[in-house]
Amino acid sequence: MTSLTRHESATAAGADGAAMAMRIVAESARLLGAPRLICVQSAHIDGALYHGDAGTLFAEELVRLGAKVAIRATLNVGALDLMGCSKSHLSGARRDMAKRLMLAYEAMGCEKSWTCAPYQAGHRPALGSDVAWGESNAVAFCNSVLGARTNRYGDYLDIACAITGRAPDCGLHRAENRLATVIVDVSGLPAALFGSDWIWPVLGTLYGREIGTSIGIVSGVTGPVSEDKLKAFGAAAASSGGVGLFHIAGVTPEAPDVVTATGGRLATRITVTPAMVHAAQAGLSTIHGAASIDAVAIGSPHLSLEELESVGSLLASRPARVPIYACTGRHVVREADRTGLRKALEKLNVIVVADTCVVVTPILPDINGVLMTNSGKFAHYAPGNTGYDVVYGSLSDCIESAIAGRPVITNAALRP
């Protein structure tokens, strides 16, 4: 039974958009077994990606009823590149409905951020604050790296929370549900591995597959870990296992050490061996020994400015033989336009994709080709969503492969 405050009940009894949103939040709370609603400080909204006309009609109904977001609300990707950097093949009525959907969310007062990495576009809620975020990688980053508290708010509930400023009080909003029950011990891996970029999506995939939706803590990581690496780890873990919160001992804010992150309670231990890493890494590719590749796709989650800059320095003025699709947010595009980076990259056969990405909307040529990526999330979703086979490799190998037009795997640990 969910009890609402007088104010919440009064809102729900109305006839406007806020009333509809409050009823949606309250009904969800009832199904989730939440005793009450809590106030949330911000939202990140995944609902503006087109799946079908019903989603557009719902958003437009909210607009018609005067709904506005009550808290800061950033938007995840849509199905179209509104910046015009790249072209989606979505056409006709579906394109119109996808556009209408994006405009409806903008009309409700959501920020036109259009990125799956809002945490690198200035949306960084405080440690311990309650928020309502959608998009699995953003949820994982928000909970784990920022230490703000959110469940996975999917389509429709995300915008309802943003309009009401409320969310069901359950799950990861509660401190007791954030403690780790599984220790994933990586101390048996060579320490140098943690400094390379390619290991993090591999570890994330392995981690997600091993622990599913449980809360775990990775122990045995040495050296500093950049935000881009944590971003890659979380995205891979969320797509392979539905991970909404992870801890890394000595790295993430709720895990200064294992005892703190587990609350001192007994936890199951999984010991990661080099063989497990090799298997997970090999599993990210769906094709081995391909003679050529048709494209490279990077940027899931969206590239940071630093990552886009490193594409430039790795290319070192050499043109790519096959296109490199570099997915990022407009917060990065603006900066890259200011410095001339985008133009320079485009001359070398880099296609910057803004506001969206190549696995959620048809941007890649419609062939059953071979795609190389450094993203665990792209590796997971590209075969099903695009029909492309996937070769997984580090960023520098992706760039060298794009120049050569065939897979170039230089890292010994990456060879099968």
């Binding site: 009823r23 969800s28 995944d46 079908g52 109904e61 999917g154 429709y156 939706t213």
Partner: protein
């Protein structure tokens, strides 16, 4: 058989029809085609069956945060099941019905029934609006 009393998760009209008791958990996102009602998950044992108009019993659901979107599309396209029976409430999936109801679209009733009891459902099932299941 004596009518089974179930818990109503989402209220809806009485329903009757052929029971489709799935033999494995399903993810609606990527598992059910919103434009046909067909089960399309290549790895699902009931692949190729159609859920439209059925008394659909689910032994489990696999959470994708877009499951609600698929169910909402099914309702709008007139392809929803006549009733949905769940082993345990899946708030994300049922959000599709909550939103459909808010949109004024006709939504099926959703009930909670243990997956072991689901296996005993007859081929044709009648469900009353107060959640009683009769063969």
């Amino acid at each position: 058989m004596t009518p089974l009393k179930t818990e109503i998760l989402i209220a809806g009209p009485a329903a009757s029809g052929a029971a489709l008791v799935l033999s494995a958990p399903i993810s609606f996102w990527g598992g059910v085609d919103p434009f046909t009602g067909d089960i399309i998950d290549a790895r699902h044992p009931d692949r190729g069956r159609n859920i439209t108009g059925k008394i659909l019993a689910l032994p489990g659901t696999i959470g994708s945060s877009s499951a609600s979107a698929v169910l909402l599309e099914l309702v709008r396209n007139g392809l929803a099941p006549a009733a949905i029976i769940l082993h345990e409430p899946d708030a994300i999936l049922l959000l599709g019905l909550i939103v459909a109801h808010e949109m004024g679209w006709r939504t099926p009733i959703a009930l909670k029934l243990d997956r072991e009891l689901q296996k005993g459902l007859a081929e044709q099932v009648t469900i009353s609006a107060d959640g009683l299941i009769a063969a």
